[in-house]
């Protein structure tokens, strides 16, 4: 279950490959046009939850020589499935809302 926008955006950001928290935060900010700004504490809390739910996993660091304190996270199969499900659900919701709005404007 993806019950918050932060989790949704974090998972989206990880679709491009394993990433470390600061980059995740930047990617999310870029993807949302600066509307979702993730600070360190909040992001780590969310990552912890996603890990516990099995939607992401810790990944091996791809580059060498970078800050060794960085941990990389990757989306899991389960994470992709959950994201797909959530996207479908949202899509369904958007469709329902659109058609309702369209019907309302015709009246």
């Amino acid at each position: 279950m993806i019950d918050s926008w932060t989790r949704f955006h974090v998972l989206c950001a990880l679709l491009q490959g394993p990433q470390y928290p600061y980059r995740i935060a930047r990617d999310v900010a870029a993807a949302t046009g600066g509307r979702v700004v993730l600070e360190a504490g909040n992001l780590h809390r969310r990552l912890q939850q996603l890990l516990a739910d099995g939607l992401i996993a810790e990944a091996r660091a791809p580059e060498t020589g970078a800050d060794r304190r960085r941990r990389y996270y990757a989306i899991t199969r389960q994470g992709r499935d959950a994201l797909r499900e959530e996207t479908d659900r949202m899509h369904e919701a958007v469709r329902t809302a659109r058609s309702a709005l369209a019907a309302g404007s015709r009246r």
Binding site: P21, Y22, A25, E39, A40, G41, N42, R45, Q48
Partner: protein, 894 residues
């Protein structure tokens, strides 16, 4: 991307430090995982901010980050609280499940309960006794303000009671004390009841009960005008005396009680539970002082108890004041007479310390011993817990596979201990309270009287709370060990695959069993040391031959025996008739028998003393002719007391060797004179005898001298009889003899000299220590041996395939037996080794209890070690035999 810390701008460095400090807001579990990640994140962010907008941007970025940190901390802790709430809601279900599980694991549940009841019960019993003796309030009002006052006559002398003039000066002049009362002890014979009885009486000032803050149950306290002799024919009864002798109930106020030769009017009855001091008085009388008594400074017999005035900070202020008053009132002191040495020293202590102070170290010592037992129990529970965790391996693995979190698994293990711990604590509290009740009867009288005085005892809630705390302390390490193992194995690791859990477990169990053996050894060594001290002490040479000696108390009333002659005549007659009884070898009288007290000394000096000979504090005893012969005391010079030393002849004295040495360094005592420095007493020394233990066995023998009972008779004496006749029969015979002389005189307090010796404080204190120490040592040893047996049985069961394989491959049965025995012996030897080291440190605590035995006494240490090794071999023998009888085929197939 992040620059090394050293080259970063100052603002960035400061921001980093601030951020790192702020991370302590987060829960520890979260920090443990994410500290580095958070810091890395922030470092990168703040560097970027600096690059984009300098320090100003850094400040804004840092502020945002800190606000985020605070919010996150709040949210994380909120989640934790929610988790706990969910767990609490699951608790009843879990508890029911655990109860069901325990019903299947009876051996574990039973073992844990028994261990808890033993280990915690002992501690709780001791707590009950310590509570009664040390912690419970005295039966007086506001006891913290009450103080006890004693005097040391010179710098080195033991504390003594005060004289009446001293008391009066303190009372009248003191401003630090709001009230000051005095009391003395005596005995009276109550007649007119069913039979004459000897009662312990206290003589008290009129303000005594007021000072203590004790209200009367019936009637009133004494009035000041009842203090002088002649007006003092009023009595206050203790609750116990009233109940025993006036069982009919109703008021006894105004009734008459005959004490000795006088009628007393009962004016008051004390409330139930009031006892004062260690030897409770049954009746209380006014001081009844004559004009002479009022001025006698050399008569020290008054205990003094005061209540600090409102503004007085503590006992020390009172001490300084009373000291000043004592010096002003009594300028001529021993010290100044002897040339400048300090005079009397006043000591003021809290009343509680004065009463129970002497026993406190002993009881704390026992508390330490009880803790050792609890420690043994804790180690034993630890092994049980590990064994139980192994038994539940499969179940826990299934739960883990089904998605139970680690904390849920730990909770499932812990809840069993919570259930058993609660049950064990409740049982232990009951068992402890019961043991304490029994133990009170086994304690020396001095302590037991106090314990029953506080028989209301420990509030049940407090006892339960203590048992619970002790049970928790005993179970906690076990749960911690089990939880650690679970965590180490991990929900995804060994548990899930069903592989043997934590290979490190058997060593842990071995260590725990060794720890039990070590603790048991400490207690056994202590038991050995105290036993040997007691044996040594009881075999101290008292200076005479105490076997076959009996003492009977006799006390003559003033009525019928108005003067010294009458008293001397009756005792002479009594002694002669008793000596003629069949089976009696000798009979004599003495005013205070040996082993009873060695305080109350008088100052004596040699007449025409040689230069350099100072006055000596000596004990004075009034003995009848034949006394030294009766107790078998060696005469080292001159003669003993004789029937011809009558009142008409010059006063004579027989002195002890130590007094002779001190007063007459030239060695010629016989024929010279001895005088009391504070009164007119002068005696001609006719003989020198050996020293005798008048009081404690473990103290130096005090110099003493004996006067003749014909010249200086005492109304109350001990009739000393050397005889092979049993005490009961002789008492009957003596009663008949005495009744023929005077039917109104009671015989009381019959005891053998050996009994008197065993009633000295030195012996009773050590007995008091020894009894529980033996009990604790036995318990701890039992727990340890059972623990070792369980460990070995378990080990054999777990190693069955391996042992079977060995047998199949040709190992001899004896070899297998030795293999198992050796394993047991290793654990035992490790425990004994550790225990010996521990005991070497711990026996120091015994300090004052030891007598004639060094704290590192090799006999005690080796005996305890040998006993435990033998017991350990015994415990391992049966599992070893089982291992050697294994059927190789079957054990391999299974």
């Amino acid at each position: 991307m992040s620059a090394p810390a050293g080259t970063a701008p100052a603002s960035v460095r400061a921001a980093r430090r601030l951020y790192r400090a702020a991370t302590i807001l987060l829960p520890r579990a979260f920090i443990a995982i994410h500290a580095a990640g958070l810091q890395a994140f922030f470092d990168e962010a703040v560097l970027e901010a600096h690059a984009a907008g300098g320090p100003r941007r850094v400040v804004r970025r840092t502020a945002d980050a800190l606000i985020d940190l605070i919010g996150t901390a709040g949210r994380l802790r909120g989640e934790r609280v929610r988790e706990l709430t969910v767990a609490a809601r699951l608790l009843p279900r879990e508890a029911r499940a655990a109860a069901r599980g325990l019903r299947r694991a009876r051996a574990f549940a039973g073992g844990l309960l028994v261990t808890l009841v033993l280990g915690v019960g002992v501690g709780t019993a001791l707590f009950a006794v310590v509570h009664a003796a040390l912690l419970a309030p005295l039966p007086v009002a506001d006891e913290d303000r009450l103080v006890d006052v004693v005097v040391h006559p010179d710098a080195t002398a033991a504390a003594m009671p005060a004289s009446y003039p001293e008391y009066r000066e303190w009372r009248d002049a003191s401003r630090t004390l709001g009230a000051l009362a005095a009391y003395g002890r005596t005995n009276r014979t109550a007649t007119g009841l069913d039979a004459p009885v000897r009662v312990a009486a206290a003589l008290v000032t009129a303000n005594f009960f007021d000072t203590l803050g004790v209200p009367m149950d019936q009637g009133r306290a004494f009035r000041p005008e009842e203090e002088p002799a002649g007006a003092d024919d009023v009595v206050i009864l203790s609750h116990e005396f009233r109940v025993r002798h006036y069982p009919a109930g109703g008021s006894v106020i105004g009734r008459t009680l005959r004490l000795g030769d006088r009628p007393y009017t009962i004016v008051g009855v004390l409330p139930d539970g009031f006892r004062f001091d260690l030897q409770p008085a049954e009746v209380f009388l006014p001081l009844g002082l004559t004009l002479v008594d009022l001025e006698r400074r050399d008569s020290r017999w008054l205990g003094v108890v005061g209540r600090l005035a409102d503004g007085t900070p503590g006992a020390e202020a009172a001490r300084a004041e009373l000291q000043a008053i004592a010096e002003a009132g009594n300028p001529v002191t021993v010290g100044s007479a002897a040339g400048g040495a300090p005079g009397p020293r006043v000591a003021v202590r809290r009343l509680r310390d004065a009463i129970v102070g002497g026993f406190a170290p002993v009881l704390w010592l026992l508390g330490g011993a009880a803790l050792l037992v609890a420690g043994t129990a804790a180690a034993s529970i630890g092994t049980l817990a590990v064994t139980r965790a192994i038994g539940r391996r499969r179940e826990l693995a299934i739960r883990a596979a089904l998605g139970a979190s680690q904390s849920a698994l730990v909770a499932a293990v812990a809840i069993e201990f919570v259930l058993l711990g609660l049950a064990g604590a409740a049982l232990a509290a009951v068992a402890g309270a019961w043991t304490a009740q029994v133990a009170v009867h086994l304690l020396p009288d001095a302590i037991a009287s106090r314990a029953t005085w506080l028989a209301g005892g420990v509030p049940a809630g407090r006892l339960m709370l203590f048992a619970l705390a002790l049970a928790t302390a005993a179970c906690l390490p076990a749960v911690a060990v089990a939880a650690r193992d679970l965590r180490r194995a991990g929900a995804t690791g060994a548990l899930r695959t069903g592989a043997p859990v934590g290979t490190g477990r058997r060593p842990i169990r071995g260590v725990l069993v060794a720890a039990q053996i070590a603790l048991a050894l400490v207690l056994l060594v202590g038991t050995g040391l105290v036993t040997r001290s007691l044996v040594r002490l009881r075999h101290v040479d008292p200076g005479f031959a105490p076997d076959r000696l009996l003492a009977l108390g006799v006390s003559l009333p003033v009525q019928g025996y108005p003067d010294a002659d009458a008293v001397a005549r009756l005792y002479r007659e009594l002694t002669a008739r008793v000596a003629a009884l069949p089976g009696v070898e000798r009979a004599a009288t003495i005013d205070e028998m040996p082993f009873t007290r060695d305080d109350g000394q008088v100052e004596v000096t040699a007449e025409a003393a040689m230069s350099g000979v100072e006055p000596v504090m000596a004990l004075i005893r009034s003995a009848s002719p034949g006394y030294f012969e009766a107790i078998g005391l060696a005469v080292t010079g001159g003669r003993t007391l004789e029937a011809t030393d009558t009142a008409e002849r010059p006063a004579v004295a027989v002195i002890t060797d130590s007094l002779a040495r001190r007063l007459f360094p030239d060695g010629r005592a016989v024929g010279r004179r001895l005088s009391l420095t504070r009164s007119k007493g002068r005696f001609e020394i006719v003989g020198v005898v050996g020293d005798v233990r008048m009081g404690e066995l473990d103290r130096e023998m005090r110099p003493a001298f004996y006067t003749s009972s014909l010249q200086d008779p005492s109304r109350s004496v001990q009739l000393v009889v050397r005889t092979g006749v049993p005490a009961d029969r002789l008492t009957g015979d003596v009663r008949r003899v005495l009744a023929a002389l005077d039917p109104d005189v009671p015989v009381y307090g019959v005891r053998t000299f050996a009994q008197a010796r065993d009633a000295t404080r030195g012996v009773t204190t050590r007995r008091l220590v020894l009894f529980p120490l033996m009990l604790f040592g036995g318990l701890a040893t039992a727990i340890a041996v059972v623990g070792l047996y369980a460990l070995m049985s378990q080990a054999v069961a777990e190693r069955t395939p391996e042992l079977g394989l060995r047998l199949a491959l040709g190992a001899s049965r004896g070899g297998v037996r030795r293999l198992v025995l050796r394993q047991g012996l290793v654990a035992a030897a490790a425990g004994v080794g550790a225990g010996l080291l521990l005991a070497a440190l711990a026996t120091r605590a015994l300090g004052g209890v030891l007598y004639g035995v060094p704290a590192l006494d090799p006999v005690s240490f080796l005996a305890a070690a040998a006993a435990l090794i033998v017991l350990a071999l015994g415990a391992a023998a049966s599992p070893a035999a089982r291992a050697s009888r294994l059927d190789p085929i079957r054990s391999l197939r299974d």
